[in-house]
Amino acid sequence: MIEEKQIKKTTESLPFGEVGGASKDYTTLNLGPTHPATHGIFQNIVKMDGEIIVDAVPTIGYIHRAFEKIAERRPYYQITPLTDRMNYCSSPINNMGWHMTVEKLAGIEIPKRVQYMRVVIMELARIADHIVCNSVIGVDTGALSGFLYVFQQREHIYEIYEEICGARLTTNVGRIGGLERDFSPKCIDKIEYFLKTFPAVLKEFESLLMRNRIFMDRTISVGAITAERALNYGFTGPNLRATGVDYDVRVMNPYSGYQDFDFVVPVGTSGDTYDRFMVREQEMWESLSIIRQAMDKIKQMPEKVFHADVPEFYLPPKEEVYNNMEALIYHFKIVMGEVEVPKGEVYHSVEGGNGELGFYLVSDGGRTPYRLHFRRPCFIYYQAYTEMIKGAMLSDAILTLSSLNVIAGELDA
């Protein structure tokens, strides 16, 4: 509606094939880039027969920010803020994934306690991510209250982030080799408080929607995709698990000590919106249990271990920088980016909020990555959207979009 000019420009060159004979009485509708249901910015020009979608042409790149190019110009530690802004709903996972990639390249061994601390942060981020996705499904079906109930809990997660790193959304948490500081007692209190209050709220949210027939009718068999097609499209994460494939990077290629935790991988059966919703709901419960286990483990370990002993990567403690020449030299070297990263190429993936978030890093030993490619799950599976909404109705398309949880920052990089 908004971009009448835009539509005209785009529709002239639309690659719509002739669908079902003459195409005269099809309506083309421009969903986006500023449509309220596109959380983030991408355009879908849909061709409809009445309200049935016949074809759709997605256009992306509306917030292309050239992450991969910037990464080639920045020292390793400055790439962390970039990863924040990729999947901004769960930025700590991205941060950690990036740190782990560099640690893998440099061969840094991380102490168990730090690994578990990272797990806590990452699982909190996963909960935050799934909260956004699932509550937004609720909003798109028209039920606004549940959204606000769970968002109060997300604020608690943000408070925890704030205690850990000092920021709410774009956390820039952690460093190569560990975390920048230990969990403060206040932070631990807040995590405990969250663990205590969240289940009740999540239950309430579920009882608002999960067995409500209107919601079930709206979501069941909407935007379904088979496991086979999903794999061919490169789906990972909750969207793949909703189709019944229990692929989870945390289990298949454990990182950061995930092998020490006991959790199940929830899967759906038919890959529709309801399954995606349910998988995410269940994953939040699993994440809660992982956080509980990790907190128990952290408490049993010696305190004050929050980074690996790698002076050439990890900034020395400030008191030494202020007084110790050697530490000051390391400090300068690290800040200037002159860290000795070995030559080579490495791929590391973590289970991001939306699926396998991979970092393919080619290093030539310089101060910046030679090439850094992000495997961004949103980018990879959003192309299946056209196939998923064909034959569905307009309202279904919107629900499918929100249940896919396409994050524009990750999509466009």
Binding site: A66, K69, R229, N232, N253, E345, V362, R371, H373
Partner: protein
């Protein structure tokens, strides 16, 4: 295990494709094969279809540029995954800068569609047979391939920067 994986696949590929497998090495946790461009589609479909290998998941692919590597300035990296066995391999295909044509992978993996468009957008690879090879992330009328090393990151419109002192 990785070592054996490297060899298992290498043996299979070598016996099938011979000279087209240029090199094989182990990089961290991945067996990496450099293969020739002519046979890349055959190799991937062999990896896809062969009973024991079954690499049915394209994790990612991207272009890389090595300006110093004369005769193979550009490279495309494919990363395949066999989910049930949890095997992962990486294929690299080099091409000189005067021949940017590649066969398209969209026939095997639907997901390659946008990945190839992205590679085209960033580096200018031409994927022959691609259904819709147009720019994906950048504006349509951009006249260069921004990820190539010779182009700057910035567009020079930033006014509030003073990097005379520490400029990068």
């Amino acid at each position: 295990m990785e070592d054996t994986l490297l060899h298992i696949i290498h043996d299979k590929l070598k016996s099938k494709f011979g000279e087209d497998i240029i090199s094989a090495e182990q990089a961290y946790d991945f067996p990496v094969y450099t293969v020739s461009k002519k046979k890349i589609i055959e190799i991937i479909s062999f990896l896809y279809n062969e009973e024991e290998l079954g690499f049915r998941f394209l994790t990612t692919m991207c272009g890389i540029q090595f300006p110093e590597n004369k005769g193979g300035e550009f490279c495309i990296m494919y990363q395949l995954h066999n989910m049930p066995k949890n095997w992962r391999i990486r294929l690299k295909v080099f091409t000189p800068s005067n021949d940017m044509e590649y066969p398209t992978l969209t026939g095997i993996f639907s997901t390659a569609n946008w990945m190839e468009r992205e590679a085209f957008d960033f580096y200018g690879f031409i994927f022959k047979g691609h259904p819709n090879l147009i720019r994906i992330l950048n504006v349509e009328d951009m006249n260069y391939f921004p990820m190539r090393k010779e182009y700057p990151l910035e567009d020079g419109t930033r006014e509030d920067k003073n990097d005379s002192m520490f400029g990068r």
